[in-house]
């Protein structure tokens, strides 16, 4: 399913923050995780992901750090900052409210599918 740009703009950053909640990840890993864990719904190309990462970094929600991986290559690992954690908590709450509203309108079912 293809998500419209406006929806992606709202959902993309919180999805990235959520993924990073469990620990630091590098760019390719994030792309893959987004595609797999959302079953392709939030599969965004690198053309979208990296600018989003730089934006989150600019806002101080995530922090990037270059480190050498086991393979010997350099990777930039992103992790959630304190500010990012607070933003994630706030936005998650908003999303829950939104989903609840959608459910009450019958747009989504409690299970998450289309009623």
């Amino acid at each position: 399913m293809r998500i419209e740009r406006e929806l992606m703009r709202g959902a993309g950053p919180i999805a990235v923050l959520k993924l990073l909640e469990r620990g630091e990840m590098y760019g390719y890993e994030l792309v893959e995780a987004l595609a797999k864990r959302t079953k392709g719904v939030l599969d965004m190309g690198q053309a979208t992901l990296y600018p989003m990462l730089y934006n989150l970094e600019a806002k101080g929600l995530i922090a990037g750090q270059w480190r050498e991986a086991e393979s010997g290559r350099e990777r930039k690992y992103y992790s959630l900052t304190g500010k990012g954690k607070r933003r994630l908590a706030a936005q998650a709450e908003q999303w829950r409210g939104l989903v609840g509203a959608m459910q009450s309108l019958g747009i989504v079912s409690p299970a998450g599918g289309t009623p």
Binding site: G27, Q46, A47, T48, Y50, P51, M52, W66, R73, E74
Partner: protein, 658 residues
């Protein structure tokens, strides 16, 4: 999966392969472009990123893609390198995860969009200094656009504006002269005198063999001076010229018409043109500001000749010529004033002053050269100048000049308003930079004027305001002129009234035309007051001589002269009190208290010591409060002693002593 070894000798670099242009390898142009200076330094910015990409070991297609994206971001060198490292890591991770080269390429997305978004995001990561710089430039840009908009707004109005000449002020100025019957006009005789007089012969040797070309120096000679014999000889040879001058002066009016009467013969005489072929008929609609009055210099020179001739006549026992020439000089002064400009008044005042100086010299040196009747005639002639009253500078002509200037240099909205049109302004207002006198230069500077026009229109007050402000200043000046010298305002009051044109701040540009067109009003009237004082003192000196002849003594006080010899004792124009009088060693002394406003008993003021600048002259009036302030700040700037009006030798001797 194709992998290309990095930095393989002879293998093309990413920079070469990713270039959008095909180019000849040996071209000098491309050699330069391949250096860090190529593409205006952009290559240099890319250098770090290219190194990262070239050393990545990624397939060529990936490296080219990354290089294109990185270049399109147009970020700083360091930022590009960072982006390149991240994308290289991404593709390497993808390959390591088993994805194909093509798959990774297709999943990358739109490279243009990626570059744009990366650029935008990375810029957000920049520090506060850069943001401040960015905001500063944005502010500058907005300000520039605002200024440009205002400039264009006024530009459209000014570039399309055309002044409308509704009145011919020159014709109005000349109308009184046109109305004079031909037989009452002095100008034809004056013109004849000008053409008959060869001033090139009236030179005196000066500084060795170098002749002075200034004839007036010769006519400043007096009996006893070095070149008086030469002057006397030339006066006799120019008797016919002086006859013409006296005849012209005897006419009711001179009736000279500026811009009309300077014909070809006169222009050749004045060396304006070399031959009659160069003569162009005068422009009957010429602007007043540029109208010339060459006749004034001629009148002034003839007056000086007449005063020199008075000395000659007195020394040759031809006393009757003195009242004749006195009358002629006064009439010349009046004729010079027929045109109501300040410059005309100043010439008239100068002639009157010169005549009075001559009479007082004759009174002192050769009092017996004239009979009673002749001295009385001299007195009556002198007293007739300016109707016998105090001399007041006339500002009517200046007002006309400014009105004419406004109609020629401002657009007309039909309601009295309008914007400044600099290209239509005369050089006297715009200055030599924008409007050189030279026509060729002027044409070349037209673009400069056109560019400056909207600014001038924005900064300068509009036509109505200029007119109102000019009138306000002129009305104020006329109000001051109507009062005698001792009731004139303080300098601070004058400065306050003229603040907008005297200031050196930007405000001065608002009324720039007024500033440039305004004559030195207060100085002109101060000169008139001084001449009034000199004229009054000369009349008293004549009365004293006539009294002495009748009574065999000088009076105890000037009151004794009234009413037989004088209608009233004239005032000291520094105080308003009666003119001061003393008899010392049997000789009368007439004096004003002078600038220090203190009666020093007729002790002449000493000349300022050498090296002191800014010192007042004894005849310069100052308000008592200004004087008090000057005494506190710089007491030596105020000369002590009195202004000796008679005898002239007393003041001169004091000067010589110094």
């Amino acid at each position: 999966m194709t992998r290309e070894a990095p930095d393989k000798k002879g293998a093309p670099t990413v920079r070469e392969r990713s270039s959008p242009r095909a180019r000849p390898a040996q071209s000098a142009f491309w050699k330069v472009m391949d250096t860090d200076l190529g593409w205006f330094g952009f290559r240099r910015c890319l250098a770090w990123a290219e190194q990262v990409i070239d050393r990545s070991g990624l397939p060529e297609a990936h490296r080219v893609l990354i290089a294109r994206v990185v270049r399109r971001t147009r970020l700083w060198r360091r930022e590009q390198a960072d982006v390149a490292r991240e994308l290289v890591a991404h593709f390497a991770d993808g390959l390591e995860a088993g994805r194909t080269e093509a798959d990774l390429l297709s999943s990358f997305g739109n490279e243009k969009k990626a570059a744009r978004l990366i650029r935008r995001a990375k810029k957000r990561n920049r520090g506060p200094v850069w943001r401040a710089w960015l905001y500063w430039w944005r502010a500058v840009g907005c300000l520039f656009l605002l200024v440009l908009a205002v400039y264009l707004y006024y530009g459209v109005q000014v570039w399309t504006a055309r002044p409308k000449i509704a009145r011919n002020y020159l014709a109005e100025l000349n109308a009184p002269a046109e109305a004079v019957p031909p037989e009452d006009r002095g100008w034809p005789l004056m013109r004849e005198a000008i053409l008959a007089y060869d001033r090139s012969a009236d030179v005196i040797p000066e500084e060795g063999d170098e002749p002075s070309r200034k004839a007036f120096l010769l006519w400043s000679e007096r009996p006893g001076t070095a070149y008086w014999p030469l002057a006397a000889e030339r006066l006799r040879e120019n008797e016919h010229v002086l006859d013409l001058v006296r005849a012209a002066a005897a006419k009711p009016r001179l009736a000279f018409r500026p811009g009309v009467d300077d014909d070809a013969a006169l222009q050749m005489k004045w060396n304006w043109i070399a031959s009659e072929a160069e003569f162009t008929p005068p422009n009957p609609t010429r602007d007043l500001m540029n109208v010339l009055q060459p006749h004034l210099a001629e009148i002034k020179l003839f007056a000086r000749m007449l005063t020199a001739e008075m000395h000659l006549a007195a020394s040759e026992d031809r006393g009757a010529r003195v009242p004749e020439n006195t009358s002629a000089c006064v009439r010349l002064a009046e004729q010079a004033r027929e045109i109501p400009f300040v410059i005309n008044d100043l010439v008239a005042i100068s002639i009157s002053h010169l005549t009075c100086d001559t009479i007082r010299e004759l009174l002192e040196r050769r009092p017996d050269a004239l009979r009673d009747r002749q001295w009385r005639d001299v007195g009556h002639a002198l007293a007739s100048f300016s109707g016998g009253g105090r001399i007041v500078v006339n500002l009517a002509g200046e007002r006309a000049i400014f009105r004419d200037f406004l109609q020629r240099s401002f657009s007309d909205d039909g309601k009295g308003g309008g914007l400044a049109v600099p290209r239509a302004m005369p050089s006297a207002i715009m200055g030599e930079i924008f409007l050189p006198e030279d026509d060729d230069l002027r044409e070349g500077r037209d673009w400069l004027l056109q560019l400056a026009a909207p600014v001038a229109a924005l900064v300068m007050a509009n036509r109505r305001s200029q007119s109102a402000y000019y009138d306000r200043l002129m009305n104020q000046a006329e109000s001051w002129f109507s009062r005698p010298q001792w009731e004139q305002p303080r300098q601070a009051d004058v400065r306050e009234a003229f603040a907008d044109v005297e200031t050196r701040s930007i405000r001065a540009f608002r009324y720039w035309p007024v500033r440039m067109a305004l004559p030195a009003l207060m100085r002109a009237q101060a000169t008139a007051e001084q001449t009034t004082q000199v004229r009054d003192a000369t009349l008293v000196a004549i009365a004293l001589e006539l009294f002495r002849r009748r009574e065999g003594r000088y009076p105890e006080s000037l009151d004794e002269l009234v009413p037989a010899f004088l209608p009233a004792v004239p005032p000291d124009r520094h105080t308003g009190k009666p003119l001061n009088y003393a008899v010392r060693e049997g000789k009368p002394i007439l004096y004003s208290v002078g600038v220090n406003l203190a009666d020093d008993g007729g002790a002449p003021a000493r000349r300022p010591p050498t090296g002191i600048t800014g010192r007042l002259r004894v005849e310069q009036w100052r308000h008592p409060l200004d004087l008090k302030q000057m005494r506190e700040e710089s007491p030596r700037s105020i000369p002590d002693g009195d202004w000796i009006l008679y005898p002239p030798s007393l003041a001169r001797e004091t000067e010589d002593e110094e």
